[in-house]
């Protein structure tokens, strides 16, 4: 056995023993690369995820809703930062990651390429999109890479408020006037399927999943997570008296789980390839924000340099 194979074998045993991998540990190059890709995409998703919601901050229907939405969007920025930091522990460079997002080279969750035309979308995003994200993130709290797992624990604690504020918006609308109820139903109709797609392709079409499961980066398959999400969400929709837009959705007594209709994977791949409704808009907004923030970064640099120079001068004088 070569030394490399020996190390791989040891690494696998270590991970199989439910031990956490930490930044300075030896790890297979592919493990490191997979994590950098996954964590940076996750970070980008948090950052781009601010855009569809920020759209409604100025038009939130009350101050209570506005402060909640502001806090949520601020959290997403924080989550992006936790994740970029986790990726940096693998020797990824923050600037490279951000450049890749801005140039369009890096991917982020396709869900954020859907538009938010009504206030009910903010409710549906919190309830469904954050709900789906939580299902995935709760699993990732047990991921084998320590810094990623720790970032997830922090994120999960904060996400729970996100989902609750979304569901509360849905409750208010669903109990409101016929128009409001219609808005809620319309948002559910538009967000249901894209939310299911957030878990990624079916297990048989997810070629990288097996290796990620073996390394315990992922702890549950895409389909498992998707089904858990559906089982949890259906009763929540029933409570709202809203109808999930899937005529094939049916409780399966044998499996003790819901059967669901066919997901439109063509739509999924189309949006990934950049042909979603808002891909261009999101990238343009992100680039604009980055450019418009340039003077702040410059000023902070200049100030730090000036302070440092002053300190050096004082040292010299003393």
């Amino acid at each position: 056995m070569t030394k490399e194979m020996d190390m791989m074998e040891q690494f696998q045993q270590y991970v199989d023993g439910e031990n956490k991998v930490e930044p300075k540990h030896w790890m297979p190059e592919a493990y490191r690369k997979t994590l950098i890709r996954q964590i940076s995409q996750h970070a980008h998703s948090e950052v781009v995820g601010m855009l569809p919601e920020a759209n409604w901050i100025t038009r939130a229907p009350s101050l209570r809703r506005k402060v909640a939405l502001l806090a949520k969007v601020q959290d997403e920025a924080g989550h992006g930062l936790y994740l970029y930091s986790a990726a940096e522990t693998l020797a990824a460079d923050r600037k490279d990651m951000i450049d890749d997002l801005l140039s369009g080279k890096a991917k982020y969750s396709s869900i954020f390429n859907y538009p938010t035309p009504t206030w009910a979308d903010i409710g549906a995003i919190g309830w469904l999109v954050d709900g789906a994200a939580i299902a995935n993130q709760v699993m990732l709290c047990r991921t084998s890479y320590g810094p990623y797992a720790r970032a997830m624990v922090k994120i999960c604690k904060e996400e729970s408020f996100h989902q609750r504020q979304g569901y509360e918006i849905m409750m208010t609308l669903a109990k409101g006037s016929p128009e409001q109820k219609k808005m809620a139903q319309d948002a559910l109709n538009r967000w249901w399927w894209p939310s299911l797609m957030m878990f990624g392709p079916t297990d048989e079409h997810s070629p990288n999943s097996a290796q990620s499961m073996k390394w315990k980066i992922k702890r549950k398959s895409n389909d498992e997570l998707r089904e858990e999400f559906i089982d949890k969400t259906v009763p929540q929709a029933e409570y709202l008296n809203l109808t999930i837009p899937d005529k094939d959705l049916k409780w399966n007594e044998d499996r003790q789980s819901y059967d669901h209709g066919e997901i439109d994977w063509d739509e999924f791949y189309n949006v990934i390839k950049g042909r979603g409704k808002c891909n261009k808009q999101r990238m343009a907004a992100r680039n604009k924000a980055h450019e418009e923030g340039a003077w702040v970064r410059e000023a902070a640099n200049a100030y730090a340099e000036k302070q440092e120079a002053r300190k050096q001068k004082q040292k010299g004088a003393a």
């Binding site: 930490e22 601020q74 924080g78 640099n301 302070q307 440092e308």
Partner: protein, 96 residues
């Protein structure tokens, strides 16, 4: 100019309340220590997680090498006599 990368990485330590030690919570980027504190406040204490912040440049931290874990840490494993339970004291003596 704007992209000049002198925003170094800082490790952040937070004391959650008086009486407890500062604990490592994560890292962030900032051009200087003052900004690092301000950023740490926004990133790591949005929900009253802390009452005191330390920031330390990441490259100022020296870490032990995991490959040397054996010589560093295993010598302590066979020194059971360093623990109170190693010593037999009769029950009637009470808590000691």
């Amino acid at each position: 100019m704007s992209n000049k990368d002198n925003w170094k990485i800082w490790e952040v330590f937070i004391r959650s309340r008086n009486g407890l030690s500062h604990k490592h919570v994560g890292s962030l980027h900032a051009p200087d220590a003052d900004m690092a504190i301000k950023n740490a406040r926004d990133v790591y204490t949005r929900r009253s997680e802390g009452i005191s912040i330390w920031v330390v440049p990441s490259d100022e931290i020296t870490a032990s090498n995991p490959e040397e874990n054996e010589p560093l840490f295993t010598p302590a494993d066979d020194k059971v006599y360093r623990h109170p339970t190693f010593y037999d004291i009769p029950d009637e003596i009470g808590h000691m």
